[in-house]
């Protein structure tokens, strides 16, 4: 008999509906788990024990009274700490927002209002980073190996789902920040088509790239959570005005006849052999299920990383200009004049990586350089979108690695930013093009670290990814392992 915290959301929802268990019991059990392993994993910035238990009891009462509740009502969910939760501290893992309590809810926070938010998860500061090492508060560990990074920037959300410290979680993805940590931590991570999930209340990093998405233990949970959070929002002008979709309709493994391409530029030298093998293995599996899989090409791939860093830093430098200590957040002490307030607050409030990106972004937008850098990057962006457009004329789905390698050890990666940024090479193109993508936990490397494979879909065809992911899940020889927490390096 497994612990409640080991189950999936759909399994728990089932038990709740059958009155086999209450939400309060589930949450109690969840917090027990958190007590056991959070000391090792350190996935949470804020754990909301009292608030969660109160909410759980409230949902139980509503359920008993026969009130209408959402399918995931009463299920424990963790939320990345860059998503505003009303009256609950939202820090973006930054000194700058160490005490910021939003007076309003993000739209997604409203949409999960009958779930139980059990905590706000750790991340790279302002979502800038690929390892969660850039957090002001703490370093989150990979549950599969506590000496390794969980990935980033949504490392906390990935780790807590992986460690069963949450049933499901929300993260955000600007250049791979959901998919890559999902791959590193062995969970499902999904970045929806740009505009399918409202960004209202998501603390902005790069406005034209950011999307909120789910971390789950399996594909069915992913579909359920997508149902919960997607939808047009009048408060977000970039939100797509399309009818709501029920993603559970794609929970069939029927991919016969699906045309799947593996872009060769994603399978080159920089990708580890084990990762490549995992992708090829998934390809074989798809073929055995009746899909047509072949190599294809996305010639613009080599340019995506540069375009991504130009565009994301530029937008970030502007989005982060509001952090000045005047209306909210950290404010430096002993400021003798206004300039001091600005300079000291921002210098003391921001970490190293954030400052680097702000400087880069300021440069890219500055007088004399705008055309050569920002405008050029946006033009290349058009080419990248066209590149994908051509590929999707032929293919229904693309299959690729999520990351060039598995989780690295703390301190292993060099301090050279260009090298660090190269870790994003498999993921950034999707944000550039606004396309949906999922990392599915397909294998383990020889050291027992998870390898995710990436499914890339056409814009608005998030459902096809669910279907293809479900197919892998139902047919793969890889059974979901759980990390052995408490184990050594």
């Amino acid at each position: 008999m497994s612990n409640l915290y080991e189950l999936t959301a759909h399994e728990l929802a089932d038990k709740l509906a059958k009155k086999e268990v209450s939400s309060a019991e589930i949450c109690e059990n969840q917090f027990k788990r958190i007590d056991e392993v959070e000391g090792d994993v350190e996935g949470y910035i804020t754990v909301l024990h009292d608030e969660a238990m109160a909410k759980a009891k409230e949902i139980d009462t509503k359920r008993a009274a026969g009130e209408r509740l959402s399918p995931l009502a009463g299920i424990p969910i963790a939320v990345k700490d860059n998503i505003c939760t009303k009256d609950i501290k939202t820090t973006c893992a930054s000194h700058m927002l160490y005490n910021f309590v939003p007076p309003y809810n993000a739209t997604v926070s409203e949409k999960i209002s009958d779930l139980v938010i059990i905590g706000k998860t750790n991340m790279d500061e302002f979502a800038m980073g690929s390892s969660t090492e850039n957090s002001y508060f703490k370093k989150t560990k990979n549950p599969y190996n506590l000496g390794c990074v969980p990935g980033g920037s949504s490392g906390g959300s990935a780790a807590v789902v992986s460690a069963d410290e949450a049933i499901i979680a929300l993260g955000s993805d600007t250049g791979g920040s959901i998919r890559q940590p999902a791959s590193f931590c062995g969970v499902v991570g999904f970045k929806p088509t740009y505009g399918r999930v409202s960004r209202f209340g998501l603390v902005a990093f790069a406005s034209s790239l950011d999307q909120i998405g789910p971390f789950t233990k399996d594909v069915e949970d992913c579909a359920l959570l997508l149902n919960q959070i997607t939808g047009h929002d009048v408060k977000d002008s970039t939100s797509l005005n399309v009818p709501d979709e029920d993603f559970t309709q794609y929970l069939n493994a029927d991919i016969k006849g699906m045309k799947i391409g593996i872009p060769k530029e994603y399978m080159g030298e920089g990708i580890s052999e084990e990762v490549r093998n995992a992708v090829l293995s998934a390809a074989k599996l798809y073929e055995s299920m009746g899909a047509e899989v072949e190599q294809c090409s996305l010639p613009m791939t080599p340019y995506a990383l540069a375009a991504y860093y130009m565009i994301s830093s530029a937008e970030a430098s502007s989005n982060l200009a509001r952090y000045d200590g005047i209306r909210f957040g950290f404010r430096a002490k002993d400021c003798k004049d206004l300039e001091d307030v600005y300079f000291k607050t921002r210098s003391e409030g921001f970490g190293k990586e954030v400052k680097r990106r702000i400087m880069l972004g300021t440069f890219v937008l500055s007088s004399g350089y705008y055309d050569a850098y920002y405008k050029k990057a946006q033009q290349v962006r058009t080419l990248i979108r066209e590149d994908f457009g051509k590929a999707f004329e032929k293919y229904d789905l693309l299959l690729a690695p999520t990351a060039p390698d598995t989780a690295w050890k703390f301190g292993e990666k060099s301090a050279d930013p260009v090298q660090m940024y190269a870790a994003d090479i498999c993921t950034v193109s999707l944000n550039i093009a606004g396309l949906p993508g999922m990392s599915f936990p397909f294998a383990l490397d020889k050291n027992g670290l998870p390898i995710g494979v990436q499914l890339i879909g056409k814009a608005m065809h998030d459902g096809d990814i669910i279907r293809a992911g479900y197919a892998l899940e139902k047919n793969s020889a890889y059974t979901k392992t759980k990390p052995q927490l408490g184990g050594a390096n």
Binding site: S208, Y309, I326, L338, Y373, Q379, V380
Partner: protein, 95 residues
């Protein structure tokens, strides 16, 4: 592309960041490296390509001109480090 310390200082001023000498040097090196890497984009001929401003195709996303209740002042000021009598406070500006 090599960026000079003077340019770094100018950017820091634009971004309202104080940088130590060590930081200035480090950033000069790092940014030069990143921009060199960015030069890869020059391999492409983009002269006829329009820049992507939005990945979505929507236009005319509007709101009707109907007033809604504003937030109480207490909520507006609640996160301010320095506020008094209904206003945010900043050191007196010269202008």
């Amino acid at each position: 592309m090599s960026i000079t310390i003077k340019e770094i200082e100018h950017l820091a001023k634009l971004a309202r960041l104080n940088l130590s000498d060590e930081e200035k040097e480090r950033l000069t090196g790092e940014m030069s490296g990143i921009l060199d890497f960015a030069h890869k984009l020059n391999e492409l001929d983009v002269s006829d390509i329009s820049p992507t401003m939005h990945v979505g195709a929507d236009s005319n996303v509007f709101r009707e001109d109907v007033a809604r209740e504003s937030y109480p002042t207490s909520e507006i000021l609640r996160n301010a480090a320095e506020a008094d009598e209904g206003c945010f406070l900043v050191p007196k500006t010269v202008e």
